[in-house]
Symmetry: C3
Subunit: 429 residues, 3 copies
């Protein structure tokens, strides 16, 4: 349970807020590479952390993310012409390059130097692993490039999608680090989803509904270990890394690809749910890629022509199917792992009222995450302390599914498996 001020602190990410400052110290996923595929192609309106911006790839292939609105009279540059090294406002032809620098004001003489004095806010972008990343903080505090394993393996080993989620980022993240709901909400999908089914570990999930959480600090956030009873005096451990501020990974199953998420605030009532799937040591199969495109696993199908709006959404009650719910084909009546989560998280309201919640032992990951991220946000704002999770070492993590002797702490028994390393097989069951 949080006090009102705490809930405000941890959920508000606009400019000038403590949590907003914290988010502005990381490379965050901004766009899929496919959204800015062509030099000189269509620009994209993008809102992140309550800032409205325009992203484009200029005619030379350079990426830019600048203020959405022209410095002159406030027209949205989304209507602009992406031509010859910059985007040109269609109202009076003012032109900006990818750094937001105004390069041309046709009505003013070149010699006047007027254009040089006009510069829009802009943020650096980098492209890596099919994702365009943004850093929205002070230039002198920019961290090294992203080092997440999914974004550094060969492209054929990795798949990324995104979708809009209509609630605050935090309740989405809290779903991501809470692996105890799997045995309920996703129980139907464990048996049926082509990207989940067939793993031996699934049985442990289904047979022990009272898992025990053990959470340990990691350099970039937490390692959340969840153990269930297994045969032969063993525990079945599922280990979820959370790296600050909003990266989580789902523990793997069998030889399926591993998957995980980023939960990036659009504004305080909406977030982007980013969903990656990759295999550390082999290409994804055609069948796997097709299943991901078809909205299986943690991916979704979209409303045609929309900006990554899930086909199942609040307006259609997520296509709730009570007959399937009764039959147990789906536990909640909603189909698909991603929308099973999203439907419940959105049902909490735009921002969950955490003054009314009742947390239990299986929420230990959530409790420790909140504590650590609030502490980090305050340390940043009050003392300028840069938050953890910005370095490559913190980001080279893996989720783990493993059987360990009961007396072995997971942080010992899975120590090596929790570290991502090129070419190393992942520990799964």
């Amino acid at each position: 349970m949080l006090r009102k001020e705490q809930n405000d602190l941890v959920t508000q990410t606009g400019p000038g807020t403590p949590m907003g400052e914290l988010f502005r110290r990381y490379w965050l996923p901004a766009l899929l590479s496919e959204e800015l595929a062509e030099p000189g192609g269509e620009p994209v309106r993008l809102q992140l952390l309550s800032e409205r911006m325009l992203a484009f790839r200029d005619s030379d292939g350079k990426l830019g993310l600048i203020d959405e609105f022209c410095a002159h009279r406030g027209v949205s540059l989304w209507f602009g012409r992406n031509e010859d090294g910059g985007i040109r406002c269609p109202y009076h032809g003012w032109k900006y390059n990818v750094t937001g620098q105004c390069t041309e004001v046709p009505s003013e003489a070149k010699e006047s130097g007027y254009a040089e004095r006009i510069k829009l806010k802009s943020y650096p972008l980098v492209e890596q692993g099919g994702v365009i990343w943004v850093y929205m903080g002070p230039a002198d505090q920019q961290p090294p490039l992203p080092a997440w394993e999914f974004s550094t393996v060969p492209a054929r080993q990795s798949f990324m999608s995104k979708r809009i989620q209509e609630c605050n980022w935090l309740q989405a993240l809290e779903g991501g680090i809470d692996s105890s709901h799997v045995s309920f909400l996703h129980s139907g999908s464990l048996n049926a989803d082509p990207l989940f089914k067939g793993a031996k570990g699934n049985q442990y999930n289904m047979n022990d509904l009272a898992p025990v959480f053990e959470v340990v600090e990691a350099s970039g956030g937490l390692a959340i270990g969840v153990r269930r009873n297994a045969e032969d005096d063993q525990y079945y451990w599922r280990i979820t890394p959370w790296v600050m501020p909003c990266f989580t990974m789902v523990p793997p199953r069998g030889d399926h690809p591993i998957h995980g998420h980023f939960w990036v605030p659009i504004d305080d009532h909406n977030c982007w749910a980013w969903s990656f799937d990759y295999h550390p040591t082999r290409d994804l199969t055609e069948g796997e890629v097709q299943a991901m495109r078809d909205g299986k696993g943690i991916h979704v199908r979209y409303v045609p022509g929309s900006n990554y709006v899930p086909e199942q959404n609040r307006t259609n009650n997520y296509l709730m199917d009570r007959a399937a719910q009764r039959a147990g084909t789906t536990y909640s009546g909603v189909e698909g792992i991603a929308m099973q989560d999203a439907s419940l998280q959105e049902s909490m309201g735009p921002i969950q009222d955490r003054t009314r919640e009742n947390l239990v032992g299986t929420d230990n990951g959530i409790i420790m995450m909140r504590s650590r991220i609030m502490k980090s946000a305050r340390a940043l704002v009050e003392h300028g302390t840069l938050p953890p999770g910005r370095d490559a070492e913190s980001q080279k993590v893996r989720s783990v599914a493993i059987l360990l002797k009961r007396e072995t702490p997971f942080s010992d028994g899975a120590r090596d498996a929790m570290i991502a390393e090129a070419g190393k097989k992942h520990q799964s069951i």
Copy 2:
């Protein structure tokens, strides 16, 4: 005309408001029995008096109305599984029975007694006369069960429907106790509607457009007598009972079934319009029931698949037909008695600004109703005085249509006719 504070007082019914407290001292219609027909069937989201709740019939057939949101992390229990004596949250399997008592928290050991300490807000429901009724007040002030005649006659003599109305409850109620508008707004329907036409009384309605209101206090509210000139030194009286807080009956016509309403706040901008039709001494005919189902009389047709949203509504201008208006087939151009009323009441805005109104003699019922209900709300909040209208005697009322000698006060001449009594023919003309 009300002052701003008075209008606020009488229109706001959320938790903690004086009028909200008053409403919470009565059994109110909550759902149609058909909405919770099956043991273990679909739960229903229900908002009343600005509280969001979940109604369900458990696998044993027991009815429950509990907080919509799980005590754990705030998920809407509408997504829940209605199974084995309770509703189970699909996120982590917490389960609640019809009293809101948590009966299972799978992650916690049974012996811990954790579940027993978790209880959601809940309100008692009773089923009677095709309606599921709720009492939302303090347990020690619960009134006796509803005694309305329509809900106690044999089922084949009674019919109930409901619809959403997009305005504050009070302007809907004020329409219900204002029988002077019938000669205008509903004049077309008096001749054409199968549940209204052919009564001898209709002619008196149409021939005297300046009715005189006489309002007398009744034990549960008011009896609003409206007289029009008739032949032979008589008056044609139409008598509308209002029983606190929101029950009204339309005076009868010929041998048609009698009808009436409850106007129950959803929030301050929306209400449920409940519409009953019954005959005190005979079964409804097949033709009558079919007409009611077809949206005749005070009933409506619905947007298919919607939650009792009228087919004619604000988004389609109530299917206004100017040609029918000109021809006089309908007086306002809107078809059907219910939507003739609702369209005008909604047109006043979400909450009518009563600081700008100009009331006349035919508004005497409204004036006295407001005065009495405000006085009762204040007495309840300030002195704990329970409001009138909670007892069976107050509820055993009938509307009346009667011819009386001019010198006879209606409260004498119709005294007996105004009392509901099993098997007694109703006084109509």
Copy 3:
């Protein structure tokens, strides 16, 4: 750039605001004649300057604009019956004539004089040039009738349309007095639009992208001269009159009809864009009228059945066509001159944040307009000084396109051409 208080002052036009008071000292276009074509026809809901009103033509053909809501209990008179010299509320039959005077309260005895004491707010309307005009200010300050040339030429020489624009009136007006954007935003249309193409002047527009603004005060507002380089030591001048508060004219092209606009506030987030086209000395051709009806020139096509909502609008991204943008068929990708402007003006947000703009020399017309209108609004509110632009002389203006020797000031060289006079050919190129 404006300070926040200045931007509020100049954009807010509700009752009691300084700019609202200023607007209430002029005849403003309220409705197209076609909207109230028939005596006793359908009434029309109309919101202007944040006031909700009802317009109707009574059975005698008289025009009325009265409060939308009945004085009795607040019902919208849009549901009323337009019959026998007035509009009758369908709830209880109260009747109002075109002056807002209540003429009948059926429930009250005629002798009581009750009806005479009830009067709704009303404003005078006059019909002229296919437009119904309203004056919403104090009766003793009513200006002479509109004298705009388009509204006084024979009907066959003139065409008028209107459309809703979803932004504050000021950013629409600012587009109207800014003729420098034509060379960019409308460049595609100069070559293709049947009501623009073929004029010799178009080439000057396209060849000089750094026009120079010279703005001079006129009796009713400003004359905004914009010069571009031309051959033989001449300037090509395009002169836009602005007459207070919201009348602008586009400089003409060849023998095409001249066109212009009014920008009339609905509320602070929406305005009516009125668009007229007329030829001072000849009938419009059938082809021209057909083109205007088809949404060419400054006119638009509408969403069928809507209240003048443009077919291209925010909900469909104005049917943005990136291929056409790339090809240069349209400069911004949006088709049609009107929606090219509206799309950009709406993209600034409901009210442009003028604290963040950067104005340049080509914004001199805008700067001087703001200064003059704010000064006038303050003078009216503080000293009761009636604002300029209310007299016929101020309104008899024309836009001009002309070649002048470089040493000739436009206010000399075009002095006569800027004055509207019946039968005088307009100065165009």
